[in-house]
């Protein structure tokens, strides 16, 4: 075996060597220990540190941005959210020659359900007492790839895997206290630290080379029913984290010091004080302070303005808007936050006064393009409510709205500001209203893609209908997601769409036969390809220009979103189906 320098070899040693041979912890950890300990940081059960050696960092923050090419270093690959790879080895002529390099099922190292993971090969952390099975492991988030090593997460687990053959290098298990275990959407790298969130609201920092824990810090209150799924976003010496909540607690975005886990700032997405100008969009401060607006999906970052642009979640109580008349800022909005201070630079609400649990927490996409012949710096989003928006990302000025959900029937039209004008009759009603989309939305968190060569924005389109009943007409409103009942009564025919960002018009649409729904996002390339999953378990490659199928393989319903990168000069395509990774390569 040809020896390779630095991290991958060290990680290999970590997986196979006895403890005394383990490589040193990251220098970042030594620095962290030299400083004030992070709040509520606790040591993990890991072997004692061995003398530090100087190692190059796995991923300095300065190397995160740039055209998406050999590595996949962040949730979206780069800060723009485009999921547009500039790699050119795989193209329309040879994509059908992609072949399976390896497949690997992630190992939780649980000898039996209900027992702690096998300590011999696993670092165990966490504040919970354990003693019960978590359940199915599914990879729903991004897999990071740097220097041939893959970094994978699912709820309460992280792994490093060799990207050449899929064998495990290390495993980390988080012993949970609880929380909503709906998924984990990936990790972030800061130098040699791997950062991820847990359902019981901790931000955990691991040494990416060993899987040993640097520190963990509580980022939200489990008692207040927060749960954390978002892939953190590293910008310089900030790690941005978001949380979720269904229990009428206020949403916020936070920035932590990636070195120490110290809180830098917390920005609420609803008014928390009487002097907040957004309070006029709420009936009372009490309503605003229980108004939701959670930030649970990784946003995009614009280095030129220093703005981190995130979508925010729905207002609460979700279905009983009677308790919160008004637009309810900054819920269901695109919000540009200054990374250094947490201040809001601008905001635009894509779903004023939502009453359907349609978070606008989709990943926005930064586009450098043209509108009306003028070069513009833009941000676009295809919202869960079925509308597509383009804004000026410097000023937040609204430019384009279009309805991309063909069945969407809940709005009477558009307001002068370009936002949908909700039809109150399509909220939950006692005798029932026929509404499309359903709670899941026309889109959801699954990331979309934008290809600057075609000028097209790619998204799945769900077309289901529900009968939505108000079951709690209490004038105080209900709580959380309560007070309603819905019945899903069919779908018109789900599709995949390519939207012209300049107009919002649909350039082409493919309707999936069998009328299923897809649970995956989109990848596009500089060679004119689109990769996604269909509704019947196929991984497909399409022509980005017209949607023609170029390749497919039926491996099951894809649970994350396709990614591509280079290892040893070869272009790979990686997807997860539940707990199993499928790595395709062009030889």
């Amino acid at each position: 075996m040809k020896l390779r320098a630095t991290c991958s070899l060290l990680a290999l040693i970590a997986a196979t060597a006895p403890a005394w041979l383990l490589p040193p912890r990251a220098s970042a950890q030594a620095q962290a220990q030299a400083q004030t300990p992070a709040p509520s940081a606790a040591p993990a059960r890991t072997p004692a540190a061995v003398p530090a050696r100087t190692l190059p960092p796995v991923l300095p923050p300065s190397q995160i941005d740039g055209p998406l090419a050999a590595t996949w270093p962040t949730y979206n690959g780069d800060y723009s959210g485009r999921r547009y790879s500039t790699l050119r080895l795989v193209d329309k002529t040879n994509v059908s020659h992609l072949t399976l390099a390896w497949t690997a099922r992630v190992d939780t190292h649980e000898p039996e359900a209900g027992h702690a993971p096998d300590a011999a090969s696993t670092t165990v952390g966490g504040e919970g007492t354990g003693g019960f099975p978590i359940g199915n492991v599914a990879i729903r988030g991004a897999v990071l790839q740097v220097d041939g090593i893959l970094y994978i997460t699912s709820t309460d687990h992280a792994w490093a895997v060799d990207g050449r053959d899929g064998h495990e290098l290390w495993h980390y298990f988080w012993n949970t206290r609880g929380g909503t275990h709906i998924g984990n959407r990936g990790a972030a790298l800061w130098n040699s630290s791997l950062l991820f969130e847990t359902p019981d609201d901790y931000l955990v920092s691991l040494d990416a080379r060993t899987g040993h824990e640097n520190w963990h810090v509580q980022i939200a209150s489990l008692d207040e029913d927060y749960f954390s799924t978002m892939a953190p976003v590293v910008v310089g010496d900030h790690v941005l984290v978001g949380t979720g909540n269904d229990s009428d607690s206020p949403g916020f975005l936070q920035s932590y010091d990636p070195r120490t886990g110290k809180l830098q700032w917390r920005r609420y997405m609803v008014p928390m004080t009487a002097d907040d100008p957004a309070l006029k969009t709420w009936p009372s401060l009490d309503a605003a302070r229980h108004g939701g607006g959670n930030t649970w999906t990784a946003g995009a970052y614009d280095p030129q303005t220093g703005y981190y642009i995130t979508g925010t979640g729905n207002p609460t109580p979700s279905y009983t808007g009677v308790a919160r008349p008004g637009d309810n800022l900054y819920t269901c909005s695109l919000v540009a936050v200054k990374v250094d201070t947490g201040e809001i630079a601008w905001h635009y609400q894509t779903s004023p006064h939502d009453t359907h649990d349609w978070d606008s927490a989709q990943t926005p996409i930064l586009i450098d393009g043209e509108i009306d012949g003028k070069p513009r710096k833009l941000v676009a989003t295809a919202a869960r409510n079925g509308y597509f928006f383009v804004l000026d990302r410097v000023t937040g000025k609204h430019l384009v709205t279009s309805k991309f959900g063909s069945t969407v029937n809940w709005a009477r039209g558009l307001r002068p500001d370009g936002a949908p004008d909700a039809d109150p009759a399509k909220s939950a009603t006692v005798p029932g209203s026929l509404v499309s989309p359903t709670e899941g939305g026309v889109t959801n968190y699954q990331p979309n893609a934008f290809n600057p060569d075609t000028g097209l924005f790619y998204t799945h389109e769900n077309t289901a209908y529900q009968l939505l009943y108000l079951t709690d007409p209490d004038p105080r409103g209900s709580m959380g997601l309560g007070g309603k009942r819905f019945a899903i009564v069919g779908a018109a025919g789900n599709g995949f769409e390519a939207i012209d960002y300049r107009t919002g018009k649909i350039t082409w649409r493919h309707e999936w036969p069998g009328r299923g729904g897809a649970g995956t996002g989109v990848l596009t390339t500089a060679t004119g390809l689109v990769f996604t999953g269909d509704t019947n378990g196929n991984l497909v490659a399409m022509d980005a220009g017209n949607g023609a199928f170029l390749w497919h393989t039926r491996i099951g319903n894809i649970s994350n979103t396709p990614e591509t990168y280079l290892i040893d000069g070869r272009q790979y395509l990686l997807v997860a189906v539940g707990d199993t990774l499928y790595s395709f390569v062009l030889y």
Binding site: G131, S247, D286, G517
Partner: protein
Amino acid sequence: MITTIRGGCPGAGIRLRPTLLGLLCCAALVAAARVGAQTQAPSAAAPVPQVPAGAPAAGAAPAAAPATFPDQQRPPGDPAVVAHGARLYAVNCKACHGGDLRGGDLGGPNLLRSQVVMSDQDGEAISQVVLKGRPNPPGGGTPMPAFPLAAADVHAISEYIHDVLRSKQRQGAPPPGAQQALDILVGDVAAGRRYFRGHCAGCHSPAGDLKGIATRATDAGALQDAWVAGRPPLAAGANPFAAMFAPVQGPPIKATLTLGDGTRAHGTLLRIDDFTVSLNTDDGGYRSFVRDGSPGVRAVDVDDPMAAHRHLLGVLTDRDLHNVTAYLATFK
């Protein structure tokens, strides 16, 4: 490649049944829902661990409570203390915070979503508010006076509040209250009859497949869900996703395939995507075909008896919806 979906209501058979294509559709919808919305119930994404043996039984929170992890289980309070706290609450707190703790006429906030209450472990935070009052409530509104109660009484109040909090339901929903009788039959029977004759009678008849449907449905909501979706009524409280898995009965979806050599295959459609299609052919055999190669399938003609219901979803107004339901509710 051509795919044609024929609409309409073929024949006069009974059509109020789920069909295969509908089920294919629905199964995949469920799959999408499982990985989709963040705010789906946790059980839709991953099995929620059951409370292990030995967990509190007497007075335990109902199964729908959000905290199913052992570390999130709060042991039940002493029933006598809780009862004492309930009496004290009724006297001192109810007027402002409401009999159900969700806020009252005098402006007290909802305690079941209060950060003080949810974060309180053993009365330490609640007692501070009770004893000192809230001259400047963080959420604005009416100031709360101090209640100089004995320590044991304050503790009993906090135990009572926690006891109610334990019965909160999944996804932040309030404790189940008294069932309200909500009348969803707001439609006009005569108008519903007219709509039915114009739009539904080609496939359905009051004396045929729909005979007694109002009796088969547990309530008007279940009846309305069933007729719009085109499936049998579900039991009360059924999971909306579970509806997707109702047994496949009734008329099959038929498909005619035109093959590359010009011949045709006809049968019951089992599965279709962009790349393969499979049938139970009329002679009883199983056959599958590739759609993107040669020798492959040149065209697929699907005869889906549910096409009319899918079309209906896009054109049905809520007024017609309620009118037809009111009419069908007379089919006792």
